[in-house]
């Protein structure tokens, strides 16, 4: 088991696995798909050793539905997959949100649409941030940019899931999953053994049976349920995280998340050395989106360029955040290619030049 304060040189996939176990994971349900296979492989040995349950499900559909069962019992549960597998999980994620069940879902985004490729991509921004399955619901979405951040955020993800009784998604990609970096491990304080007390199913002793469900057929019941969910999502909006790098005196703000945010940071470092006033805004929570912080930058008269590893998804949220004050240009690096810091120099210089 992971000890607190160890310095390890590990892949993002392993960092996520270790973070989850440190957070008190009890049940993991997985299915093979590249580029996240290290997670089920790691879990199959480490989780039982830590007293938990590992199941290789018959499909992503089954794995996500196993989550419903484990989450209903109030234990810490997780699944991981990559894009096509996440598509298959969406029905269950909608049920999890509708039934207010806390769980963690990891998506190591690969190229699409369809079978796409097994390389990195940010093509799943929409299916992660905008609900993804049917009905009005949201999942909290955390997008780590480094292996250390992946370790830290997965621990936080479990706390958020239980705080809001809502599924939380970790959105990484093939770069984050596969790259090795030093990670300093830590273990959160002993978690409350009574987590979920008051709503989890444990057996109806001296009280009527409890029902965890998403069906609301009686007159007005679903509307009431939806209003309650809406209020919860608004409450969740108070929790946003972002990284700002050299934004203070910047004329141009690059908005980029996850691995791309991190690669763009290298480009920005180089351009700063050459005297260009450019900064990075990296959303860490994709839902809720750190709109207020972006708006503050827009109010200072800054220009924006959103860079994504897709054809333009997060840029819609950037534009919504700064609407009526400013606009954002967009540069899409197409999935199927592996980006390097050099790839972003030209579009950034162009955006700076068009001042």
């Amino acid at each position: 088991m992971t000890k607190t304060g160890e310095k390890l040189f590990i892949k993002g996939n392993e960092a996520i696995s270790r973070g989850a176990i440190a957070a008190g994971l009890k049940c993991y349900f997985g299915y093979p798909i590249t580029p996240q296979n290290d997670i089920p492989e790691y879990m199959s040995a480490a989780l039982p050793a830590a007293g938990g349950e590992f199941v290789q499900a018959e499909s992503e559909v089954a794995a996500a539905n196993m989550l419903i069962g484990a989450a209903a019992c109030g234990v810490r549960s997780m699944t991981s997959s990559s894009s096509p597998g996440i598509s298959l999980k969406q029905e269950a994620i909608s049920y999890l949100a509708g039934s207010e069940l806390p769980t963690v879902i990891v998506n190591m985004n690969r190229g699409g649409p369809g079978l796409g490729d097994i390389g990195p991509s940010q093509g799943d921004y929409f299916q992660s941030v905008k609900g993804g399955g049917h009905g009005d619901y949201r999942t909290l979405v955390l997008a780590p940019g480094t292996c250390q951040e992946a370790y830290d955020l997965v621990i936080q993800a479990f706390d958020l899931a239980f705080k809001y009784r809502n599924p939380v998604m970790i959105l990484g990609d093939a770069i984050l999953g596969q790259m090795k970096e030093p990670v300093i491990t830590w273990t959160p304080e002993e978690k409350d053994e009574n987590e979920g007390h008051g709503w989890r199913i444990v057996g109806a002793k001296n009280r009527p049976g409890r029902i965890l469900k998403s069906l609301h057929l009686s007159e007005g019941a679903l509307a009431k349920h939806n209003l309650m969910l809406k209020n919860k999502y608004e409450d969740m909006a108070s929790f946003t995280q972002k990284e700002e790098y050299q934004t203070e005196d910047a004329d141009l703000i690059i908005v980029a998340y996850g691995s791309i945010g991190r690669i763009v940071k290298s480009t920005i470092k180089k351009l700063r050395n050459e005297g260009h006033k450019v900064g990075l805004f990296r959303p860490i929570t994709l839902y809720p989106f750190p709109s207020d912080d972006l708006k503050k930058l827009a109010e200072q008269g800054k220009k924006f360029l959103t860079i994504e590893h897709n054809l333009g998804q997060m840029v819609e949220d950037v534009r919504l955040s700064i609407r009526t004050i400013a606009d954002s240009e967009f540069f899409g690096f197409y999935p199927g290619n592996l980006p390097t810091p050099d790839d972003f120099e030209e579009p950034i210089l162009k955006a700076l030049g068009g001042k």
Binding site: C27, S59, A62, G69, L212, K213
Partner: protein
Amino acid sequence: MSEQEKLVFDRADALVDVPTHYCPGCQHGVAQRLAGELLTEMGLTENTLLVTSIGCSVFLYNYLNVDSVEAPHGRAPAVATGVKRARSDKFVLSYQGDGDLASIGMAEIMHCANRGENVSIIFVNNTVYGMTGGQMAPTTLVGQKTTTSPAGRNASKEGLPIRMSEIIGQLGGTAYSARVAVNNVKNIRKAKKAMKKAFEVQQKELGFGFIEVLATCPTNWRMDALKANERIENELIPYFPLGVHKDVTAEVED
């Protein structure tokens, strides 16, 4: 209580005292009553975690006084797996229809049984999709008219009805698999005994417990309750023979 007022029928405490929404003559009511009686008699009520499915039995959580969680259509065996892995100390019961279990949920039921999950599943086979208005199910008999097989099920295009308890009986993780009917008192008694076995194998951690209940759907069969009950004997039982398809406890005793 006087000699004359002897109590001959009492509601088991696992059964909530509310009217059900089932149509007259529907045998979902009988299947769920047997389950409730057994939970009570076996002292399992307080320890039971119920997984409900999508079909006419969707409100089962309102009728059994146990903690429950709703599964998406067909996925109850996966949800039950998650529940049991999280709480291996609990009695995990699920209840599914034939469209739910033998069509959309085929993968989940096969693998749940094959893994030998220590859960018990009641499978109510009424040869139609009851809740959605009587469409053809994988269990619809050849020639049977439904809203999506108006000329009757055609074996050459739609295949033959699936016999689930035989298939489940073939899987390594299954501890008990049987098919029963609830069309007369004798069969109801047998059904309860078989259901008890499907519960007991879970308690003894012997593996997966499966019980298929042949049941009427008078509404979608377009029959009155009596005719529907006769159809169980005359048409269903000949194709879906009653009996035990696997019982690991019997093998042990031999």
